[in-house]
């Protein structure tokens, strides 16, 4: 598989199953990062389960203070620590193996790993001690213990350093000419990921350092609006970072499983570059129902800039399944619109998790995200249960599900250990994918009826003025939380399988742990057609195009339905 001759072969191990060369330090680093990330998913998932069992009206498990502690811990542990530690581990692989590069400065990589561990542990402990019950967003003037902010800062610095290591690695590889031609799409996605992440974590320092000083009494005041502006420049960008990495993983899995290549390199790369342009400005969609910003400013930021990012995602939405479709058709699965999809390996969690992640990210996270970042519609959605409903569609059934699917391939690959509990692994993606989508859909429905997010008791049993939501809202919440609980079980199965793999025994030489990489689809097609890859007349990927048009139709209908409702309420100017 490797075309160029390997420089410094002593620094590499060649995977006997895939033929890929892996830089030795990357193996240990990837193991450490992913193991730690999965531990955070375990902690965060358990807290999420407690939160869900409390918002489930008939159970209402935790007392109020513990509920808010668990919710703060859940947000921080999964959104920050699970996702971003995982990504760094995977990024080290993507910036080295595909181009036969060696990681620059592994020592510093270990240093930043420990910074992340110490910072995240410090933050988590402060939350669990009840010293930082401020939600992960920590809007001042709500105040947490200084060690909480310090923990987040250490984590942010620990997450920032690897991005420079990635850039250095790519530059070094270029200088050393470790590969011929242009870098693969997976590596390019990782490069964009690193650039966006640099901006992101610098914003983290810009906002959390003054906040730390304020919590220590050294600064008298943090302007709450300024905080929200800079905080979302950080926190929205962290999502863009997540998306960049999970899309990189999508393309890679399509290559690993189907030998897929992008339909067109330029288009897929441009779609990544659009994220780069739109990134800082898009974060304003978190402030659309805040005081103090003009119509023009909102419009510029959410439309010009927001829609560039949306366009980027819509393009990947065609080219990721399109890559699979083209590869499958080249193998001869050419009947009708969807034979390529029907005959995909649905029994393999690497594929089923991956494909569900593509579909749910678009249909649940994407449609709703585009709709709610319309500045007027935002008002009928802001801070309701709709918001967590929406972002479990993006970050749980999109990002996390993609990471789970990838782990089932990647962890055996780096540990040279057979995947533990394959049956649980197989069930986990379905339980998590389906459970979390039920949660997303029903929580959004409850939000449409006004159910608030981050709320211990929507029956207001102890409130001075009595009020209760309708039975419908309680019913929707119940179904949502049942979905969340099922999703939690799915996450647990994933964790058991992956941690089990980490604890498992290395296989003997000659035994394989992952399948061979799929042969490039172009090569297969050329063989089937006697030497050259045939030229396709007309549409190359009609099935994927139909799926995309379906998504767009849903989006259009849903979007205007919101306006139809909004037109019936009070005049607001």
């Amino acid at each position: 598989m490797t075309t160029a001759t390997l420089r410094n072969p002593q620094d590499f191990i060649t995977c006997p199953d895939t033929g890929q060369n892996i830089n030795k330090p990357v193996i240990a680093l990837a193991k450490a990062h992913i193991f730690t990330a999965v531990v955070y998913l375990l902690a965060g998932g358990a807290l999420g389960l407690l939160v869900a069992l409390t918002r489930w009206p008939a159970i209402h498990l935790l007392p109020s203070e513990l509920f808010y502690i668990a919710l703060t811990g859940h947000g921080a542990a999964v959104l920050l620590f699970w996702c971003h530690i995982f990504e760094v581990g995977v990024a080290y692989y993507f910036c080295t193996s595909p181009i036969n590069a060696r990681l620059a400065t592994p020592k510093i990589a270990w240093f930043s790993f420990w910074l992340m561990v110490v910072g995240s542990a410090m933050g988590t402990v402060m939350v669990l001690l009840g010293q930082a019950t401020v939600m992960f967003s920590a809007y001042p003037p709500l105040k947490a213990h200084p060690l909480f902010y310090l923990g987040v800062i250490l984590f942010a610095v620990g997450a920032l350093i690897p991005m420079f290591i990635i850039l250095a690695t790519l530059i070094k590889a270029k200088n050393e000419r470790t590969y011929e031609g242009s870098m693969p799409l997976a590596t390019f996605g990782t490069l964009i990921y690193a650039i966006i992440a640099i901006f992101t974590w610098v914003m983290g320092a810009v906002i959390f350092i003054p906040t730390l000083l304020w919590s220590m009494g050294l600064i008298s005041n943090i302007d709450p609006q300024m905080y929200r502006l800079v905080f979302w420049a950080l926190a929205h960008s962290t999502q863009q970072v997540n998306i960049c990495m999970h899309i990189t993983i999508w393309y890679s899995l399509a290559a690993i499983l189907f030998g897929a290549r992008p339909l067109n390199e330029k288009v897929s790369r441009m779609a990544f570059v659009l994220y780069l342009f739109a990134l800082q400005l898009g974060s304003v969609h978190h402030l659309l129902s805040d005081p103090g910003s003009s119509f023009t400013w909102r419009t510029f930021n959410t439309s010009y800039a927001g829609y560039l990012a949306v366009l980027g995602s819509l393009i990947h939405g065609l080219t990721v399944p399109g890559g699979i479709e083209l590869a499958q058709r080249r193998r001869g699965l050419n009947n009708g619109l969807f034979e390529w999809l029907r005959k995909a390996p649905w029994g393999n969690p690497v594929f089923s998790g991956f494909f569900m992640s593509v579909v749910f990210f678009g249909f649940l996270g994407g449609i709703t995200g585009v709709t709610m970042s319309n500045q007027q519609i935002n008002m009928i959605i802001h801070n309701t249960a709709y918001v967590p409903g929406h972002f479990h569609g993006t970050v749980a059934t999109g990002t996390t599900l993609a990471f789970m699917a990838f782990s089932f391939w990647f962890v055996p690959f780096i540990t040279r250990t057979k995947l533990a509990a394959p049956k649980l692994a197989n069930m986990s993606v379905w339980l998590f994918g389906m459970g979390m989508s039920v949660f997303a859909v029903f929580f959004m429905a409850a939000g449409h009826l006004g159910a608030p997010r981050r709320h211990w008791d929507i029956t207001f049993a102890d409130a001075a003025l009595k009020f209760d939501f309708s039975a419908t809202v309680h019913m929707l919440t119940t179904v949502a939380e049942i979905g969340a609980a099922i999703g939690g079980v799915g996450a647990l199965f994933f964790i058991i399988s992956i941690l089990g793999t980490f604890m498992g025994k290395k296989v003997a030489d000659g035994v394989s742990v992952v399948p061979q990489l799929a042969e490039p689809a172009g090569v297969v097609a050329a063989r089937l057609h006697g030497g050259t890859e045939p030229h396709i007349k007309g549409l190359e990927v009609p099935g994927s195009l139909v799926l995309c048009m379906l998504l767009l139709t849903f989006l259009v209908v849903y979007y205007f339905a919101q306006f139809k409702y909004m037109a019936t309420i009070w005049g607001i100017h």
């Binding site: 890679s252 897929a260 910003s293 419009t299 007027q376 490039p520 005049g571 607001i572």
Partner: protein, 207 residues
């Protein structure tokens, strides 16, 4: 072409490779939709009846709360026996400013300190703020949601189009008593004799 997304591209001039018809169609349609959303959003600002951009002013928390207290002092309603109207254990004042007037509402941990009374179809200027931390203003059942912050006076003109009892709920986490924050608002129609019944409801309207 013998490479995949995880292998270097051997082609020299890959950026000149032809873009397939599927991608061209999709990018055109997708971008057209983005433009429709842009035009629609701007259009709604000029034609639509719901826009929360409003205006906002920097204020001091004390200054704002003073204004709210003055409003309560001047406009708190009295019942048939001449007593000031208030509801709930914490005696939250029921306040009706003249039609077209200004209503000051500073949410605080953990209550909505005013119960406004509005006339149907009349425009009122709401000044929304907070006396301490961020709060979420959620007006139910119409589900209008705004972020309230100390030091900012968020000015929006509301024109109610239906009589009834409305509720405020706080939907931004504001501390350990966040879930206690339920508030109230009445929309009455004096001309058609839909008015307060003095017992926490309105006559002729919903309970």
């Amino acid at each position: 072409m013998s490479y995949t997304s995880i292998q270097p591209i051997p082609q020299r001039h890959w950026w000149r490779m032809r873009v397939g018809p599927d991608e061209k169609i999709w990018i055109t349609v997708a971008y057209a939709w983005c433009l429709v959303m842009l035009v629609w959003m701007v259009g709604w600002y000029f034609v639509g009846n719901q826009n929360q951009a409003g205006e906002a002013f920097r204020v001091t928390v004390d200054g704002f709360v003073d204004k709210m207290d003055q409003m309560i002092e001047q406009h708190q309603l009295t019942d048939a026996s001449g007593e000031l109207m208030a509801e709930g254990d914490s005696e939250i004042p029921v306040v009706q400013v003249p039609v077209g007037g200004d209503i000051f509402l500073a949410a605080r941990q953990f209550e909505w300190p005013v119960i406004p009374v509005l006339e149907l179809g009349k425009e009122y200027t709401f000044h929304l703020s907070s006396a301490d931390v961020n709060h979420g203003f959620s007006l139910l059942p119409i589900n209008v949601n705004l972020q309230l912050m100390p030091g900012y006076d968020y000015v929006l003109r509301f024109t109610p189009n239906k009589t009834g009892i409305y509720r405020f709920v706080c939907n931004e986490y504001c501390g350990l008593g966040h879930h206690l924050m339920a508030g109230k608002l009445y929309v009455i129609d004096t001309a058609n004799n839909i008015v307060l019944d003095g017992k926490g409801g309105i006559t002729g309207g919903g309970a």
